[in-house]
């Protein structure tokens, strides 16, 4: 690999494998992170995210594969020599030191001068919005403040790469929403490359330039949030990113990418082949339809233009402000669908038991060759 090609990437991971005895925690993972970008690794608990990150930080050596930071291989380089800093899952702030001492720790270890340390610490505390917290003890900080100090402690060292391991996991929902926006803002301001681990898809989608979806030690798909949401490449990604109606069915007829299929409940639908597998007539399929891609109406006439049409009764209403949903049961087959309610006020008076007509296009009905992996999501 020549140096010019590497210069654009702060991090390159090449076929990294980590085995614990017979168990493979990280399996042939490869990706690159461009300079200054916000890269997230999204996956369910236990899929190997922390293991991957600990290899980047230097706490674990890969069983095989290579890790390069700014084009330089990091194999055999100890954590204190890597131009990488990590915000730990449980923050790991030093309770024996004040807030300012925590932030100053890395600078002090580098042998920076006193005046320089003081100036940088003050600037960093101001940057994370806690200019007066320097003298406080760690246990005097709130959850969100601890969070910011943990990040400040790393950023003050101006690392090439900042690793964050589910840093918002311990916060309550409201604070998490707020910190999401703040973190994204902070990253844009400082321009440091962030690699962010999370199992919360909304964190990944809101903040990231690029997201990798990880499952059972492998990367399923790497792409920007829109691509993951609208063009999932595997059934796992379709199920894990965003909400979906999900069924198992069998292909009845295949014509290019268009598929006619029958679900297990006996409903006949028109869909589109997605992902890598080749759909065969008669083959088993995982079928996904997003609640917001289904049109809802009180009259059947509006639905004639859609490939897929269902008439059913409202079984339940899930009110959640702008995110309100209805659960509709198909009259013919007893088939259940979740539908997003348009926010135009038209359905504000929708009642349980009311008859509604649903319709959606074949393009919005994604069919993946069934391989069992989607069940894990």
């Amino acid at each position: 690999m020549n140096a010019d090609a590497s210069a654009a990437f702060d991090l390159e991971v090449e076929s990294v494998v980590k085995k614990f005895a017979a168990f493979t925690a990280v399996d042939e993972v490869s990706f690159t992170v461009p300079k200054g970008s916000f890269f997230s690794i999204l996956g369910p608990s236990g899929c190997g995210k922390t293991t991957l990150m600990r290899m980047i930080a230097g706490f674990l050596e890969p069983t095989s594969g290579d890790l390069r930071i700014k084009g330089r291989s990091m194999l055999g380089v100890p954590p204190n020599r890597r131009p990488v800093n990590m915000v730990f899952q449980h923050l790991a702030l030093f309770p024996m030191m004040s807030v300012a001492e925590n932030v100053a720790y890395g600078l002090r270890r580098r042998g920076a001068g006193r005046a320089e340390i003081e100036e940088k610490v003050a600037a960093m505390l101001a940057r994370v919005g806690l200019p007066d917290a320097g003298e406080k003890r760690i246990d005097q900080l709130s959850g969100g403040q601890k969070q910011r100090i943990a990040i400040a402690r790393c950023l003050v060292l101006e690392p090439d790469l900042l690793l964050l391991d589910e840093p918002l996991g311990a916060l309550d929902l409201k604070l998490r929403e707020q910190m999401k926006v703040e973190l994204k803002q902070l990253q844009a301001d400082v321009g440091t490359t962030f690699v962010y681990i999370t199992h919360d898809q909304s964190e990944a989608l809101v903040m990231s330039d690029q997201v990798a979806v990880m499952n059972a030690g492998r990367f399923e798909q790497v792409g920007n949030p829109q691509a993951l949401y609208y063009r999932p490449e595997t059934a796992f990604v379709a199920g894990f990113v965003g909400d979906s109606n999900r069924w198992i069915g069998a292909a009845v007829a295949v014509d290019g990418r268009g598929i006619k299929l029958a679900t297990d409940d006996g409903l006949v639908l028109y869909g589109t082949a997605a992902g890598r597998g080749q759909v065969q007539s008669g083959g088993s399929l995982d079928v996904f339809v997003r609640p917001e891609s289904i049109a809802i109406s009180r009259s059947g006439k509006d639905m004639e233009s859609w490939h897929n049409r269902v008439q059913g009764k409202v079984k339940n209403l899930l009110f959640n402000g702008a995110n309100s949903r209805a659960v509709v049961i198909d009259d013919k087959t007893g088939f259940e669908l979740i539908v997003a309610l348009p926010q135009t006020g038209e359905f504000a008076d929708l009642q349980r038991g009311e008859t509604v007509h649903l319709g959606w296009s074949a393009e919005q009905t994604l069919c993946f060759v069934h391989d069992g992996a989607a069940e894990a999501a």
Partner: protein, 288 residues
């Protein structure tokens, strides 16, 4: 303010009764008696007078205060040695060893306490004496020409004291080190800390309560030890407890013995207080 019912009060009293009795009967009463005995002087058979003479004796007679100074210095040295040897052991048990290895190592530290101190000390004598095992091995290897006497010197005393004290240092150290989050060590390492810096700035400050309580216990036990110094140090061991023993048993001078006993208590407390002040630690912090 919540009102405590009579029933609760009674329960508390019953629960604390053994402790209060123990303190009263075994600690406070004997010490009051010791104090009164030490403050009297025999002027004629069965006639006693209030006096500080017994205390003055300690400062006037060089043998006594020198013995005390020697005992104190040796005890401090033994405490420091125990800490230096015990810390890596405790760190290994608490942070590196896992599962079965961890519990068996911990058990191994306790094993010597299955045998009585007397037997344990005799064990050391068997090893160290002129006709003992180490001397034999040295001769067999050709490293020594004749029998080597390793007993009856300060080094032998030190070995015995450190050995006896090890458990009392390791237990508090393991428990404080156990409570240190591994994440802190990793975070410090990640932020560029070297092993030495992490030890100094993260591990030791965290372990300080354990270090302080371990040191206090070991120091007090060593200072008040009688068997180990007398058996391993022989006639010239010059341990202060030996002086107390002599006054009580050999000379039958209970007044002098009590005064020495009281002085031991006061001076050792003073040494610990000074030690805490010098290292800027507080006793309260050790009980966390």
């Amino acid at each position: 303010m919540e009102r405590v019912s009579a029933g609760t009060k009674l329960t508390v009293l019953v629960l604390f009764a053994p402790f209060i009795l123990w303190m009263l009967l075994l600690v406070i009463l004997p010490h009051i008696d010791l104090l009164t005995i030490s403050l009297r002087e025999r002027v004629a058979p069965r006639v006693y007078e209030f006096s500080f003479k017994n205390y003055m004796e300690f400062f006037v007679e060089p043998l006594y205060w020198r013995t005390f100074a020697r005992t104190a210095i040796m005890s401090i040295l033994a405490t420091v040695l125990t800490l230096i040897i015990g810390f890596p052991i405790s760190y290994y048990i608490a942070k590196i060893a896992r599962g079965r290895l961890k519990s068996s190592l911990f058990l191994l530290c306790m094993l010597p306490f299955w045998v009585s101190e007397l037997v344990r000390t005799f064990g050391w004598m068997i090893l160290l004496r002129e006709s003992g095992i180490i001397s034999g091995v040295l001769q067999w290897l050709g490293l020594a020409d004749g029998p080597v006497e390793m007993l009856y010197n300060d080094a032998a005393i030190m070995v015995g004291l450190v050995y006896t004290s090890m458990l009392f240092m390791v237990v508090p150290l393991v428990s404080t080190l156990d409570s240190l989050d591994d994440g802190l060590i990793e975070a410090a390492y990640d932020l560029g800390g070297s092993t030495i810096a992490i030890l100094r700035e993260i591990v030791i400050p965290h372990a300080m309560p354990g270090i302080v309580s371990g040191c206090i216990v070991v120091f007090m036990l060593t200072l008040g030890n009688y068997l180990t110094p007398t058996l391993l140090g022989g006639k010239d061991s010059l341990w202060f407890t030996e002086q107390i023993y002599n006054q009580f048993i050999t000379r039958f001078n209970w007044e002098q013995g009590s005064a020495f006993g009281f002085l031991l208590l006061l001076l050792s407390s003073a040494i610990i207080w000074t030690g805490l002040r010098l290292t800027r630690q507080r006793l309260q912090d050790t009980i966390k």
